[in-house]
């Protein structure tokens, strides 16, 4: 306990020296998923507010993360068994973000220390929760998940992608792919010096389906049976209509 107090006292003495704060904004506060949605881009920009003159002894860096809603995922791996390749090993991940992007103003290792990374859950591996199914090869599954999603543009690590001017103004843009999941996207902005976080700022961007997309999604989840019959009815109606149309053309 005394130790903890000592740490707090130590930290509080450090704070005034780095009294730097983030003021940030986004190009859009919400993203609408319409029928012809084909991805989007958000511009994240801001400024560093400070009372004292800019400290030149250490470098100021900026880290931005954008994370989509988390969902459970099961990873499977094919193995050769009796001459054929089948899914054998698997791992359940209780929560994996459906979208995750990290942008930094310098090479990743120069912007954040591994302690701060753990403390603030900044890098992608920190975003995974409760991995079950054999701890010995769990890391292989996580790497595969990260790789597969990175190929789809769902996981991004954009080093050196933040434009930081005069240690005061910064901006970056993050590309959102078309296969975006609905939900609140958490945007976090960190200011760091010597790998330590000196200021953090959080905000959300709402990603929502609109119009037909919204109606279909809600009906499917709230009235699944009705939705099923509706889907069936539409199927039969379209089949019959096209058939009738063809008969008319041929007659």
């Amino acid at each position: 306990m005394r130790m903890l107090v000592a740490v707090f006292v130590y930290l509080s003495t450090l704070l005034p020296v780095w009294a730097e704060d983030v003021v940030a904004g986004f190009s859009q506060d919400s993203i609408s998923i319409t029928t012809n949605f084909s991805g989007s881009e958000i511009l994240i920009f801001g400024a560093v507010r400070r009372e004292a003159p800019i400290a030149r002894d250490t470098n100021l860096e900026v880290v931005v993360t954008v994370s989509g809603p988390s969902r459970p995922v099961t990873m499977r791996r094919k193995e050769r068994f009796g001459g054929i390749w089948i899914n054998r090993a698997f791992a359940h991940i209780d929560a994996a973000p459906t979208f995750y992007a990290v942008a930094t103003s310098a090479p990743y290792r120069d912007t954040i220390s591994s302690v701060s990374d753990v403390l603030y859950s900044i890098s992608l591996p920190r975003a995974f929760r409760n991995v079950a199914g054999g701890a010995d090869h769990a890391s292989g599954f996580l790497e595969a998940l990260a790789r597969l999603r990175a190929e789809e543009g769902l996981y991004q690590i954009n080093e050196n992608s933040i434009d930081l001017r005069e240690d005061t103004l910064f901006s970056t843009s993050i590309a959102l792919p078309a296969n975006l999941v609905e939900g609140d996207y958490l945007v976090r902005i960190f200011l760091t010096r010597e790998g330590r976080v000196i200021s953090a700022h959080e905000n959300t961007i709402a990603v929502r389906k609109v119009g037909i997309e919204r109606a279909a999604y809600r009906l499917a989840n709230e009235q699944p049976l009705l939705y099923g019959f509706l889907a069936l009815l539409i199927a039969i109606a379209v089949g019959w209509l096209v058939s009738a149309l063809f008969r008319m053309i041929r007659a």
């Binding site: 791996r77 089948i86 999603r149 019959f229 889907a231 199927a235 089949g239 096209v242």
Partner: protein, 306 residues
């Protein structure tokens, strides 16, 4: 043109989906198969999550079958009585199949069982049809008419019924059992089962080929319709936007396919279907024997929107 699918939560090219629907529709109209065994892998290929692909293709099969049946009804090539008997068996089989599917899923071996059933059933049926139709083609070229009615053990069974459209007087037991078996397989493999039903009708029940296609389509409508509602109610994986785009392509394709079907001779039709089935089998065998480029796959747990 990109469209965003609300349930699958992916954005895909609308023309790719129209094309897939159209291609499968043509096959459906020509051969009386629902096309489920082709449409599902094709949807995987363009990035639709498997659960959504399986459930949505069921509704697509309903539509293309309705369109096909309308065309066949007009030409009076549907044996409604036989279709009903097959359907009763089919629904019983599908109900049991859904239960079996749940057990396999709990064991984590659905993929393997589905793949093996595809290889075994498609392989047997494909090679049987291929050999048979080549023999028939050779015979008809020599001028001798193929033997129409074979008297086998099926004619010794009780509960006989008259199927006037098919020109048959046989027991209801074989079509009931055949319907149930096909329904069971259909539920496990996630398809309409036309590719199994058609050969069963031709070779086991001895129905004339012209009636087989329409009758098969007729019973497929109900089996896949049942599957669509079940998937929507339990897994919430039927994507209505995906279905509609597939439907438009599929329904047009089915009409074109029916036209092509009337132009070709029955033996030629059978050879084509047999070749198609054998190609799919070869692809499946290749997939399980050769080391895949990507060993890992992401699967989403049911009931969380995907």
């Amino acid at each position: 043109m990109q469209i965003y699918l609300p349930i699958a939560e992916v954005s895909v090219d609308a023309f790719a989906i129209l094309g897939i629907g159209g291609l499968v529709g043509i096959l459906s109209g020509m051969f009386g198969v629902g096309g489920g065994f082709l449409i599902t892998p094709m949807l995987f290929f363009i990035g639709i999550p498997p659960a959504v692909a399986v459930a949505t293709s069921a509704s697509q099969v309903v539509a293309s079958s309705v369109s096909g049946v309308m065309a066949h009804l007009k030409r009076r090539t549907v044996d409604l009585r036989m279709g009903l008997v097959l359907l009763i068996g089919g629904l019983i089989g599908a109900g049991a199949g859904v239960q079996l599917f749940a057990i396999l899923r709990a064991m984590g071996q659905v993929d393997l069982v589905v793949q093996i059933s595809y290889v075994v059933f498609l392989g047997i049926i494909g090679s049987m049809m291929f050999v048979e139709s080549i023999r028939a083609l050779r015979k008809s070229r020599h001028g001798s008419a193929p033997k129409r009615r074979k008297h086998n053990w099926i004619h010794a069974l009780p509960f006989k019924m008259k199927f006037r459209v098919s020109g048959l007087y046989i027991s209801v037991i074989p079509p009931l059992v055949a319907g149930a078996l096909v329904g069971l397989l259909a539920a496990i493999m996630g398809v309409g089962g036309g590719f199994i039903m058609v050969p069963v009708m031709i070779y086991l029940l001895g129905m004339p080929t012209k009636v087989v296609v329409g009758t098969s389509l007729f019973q497929i409508i109900f089996v896949t319709g049942f599957a669509t509602v079940m998937h929507a109610a339990t897994n919430r994986t039927v994507d209505i936007v995906l279905a509609v785009v597939l439907l438009v392509g599929g329904a047009i394709g089915a009409q074109v396919g029916t036209l092509i079907g009337t132009k070709l001779r029955a033996e030629q039709l059978r050879i084509l279907l047999a070749s198609l089935v054998l190609i799919v089998v070869a692809k499946l065998v290749f997939d399980v024997l050769v080391e895949p480029a990507e060993l890992y796959s992401i699967s989403y747990q049911a009931g969380v929107g995907l």
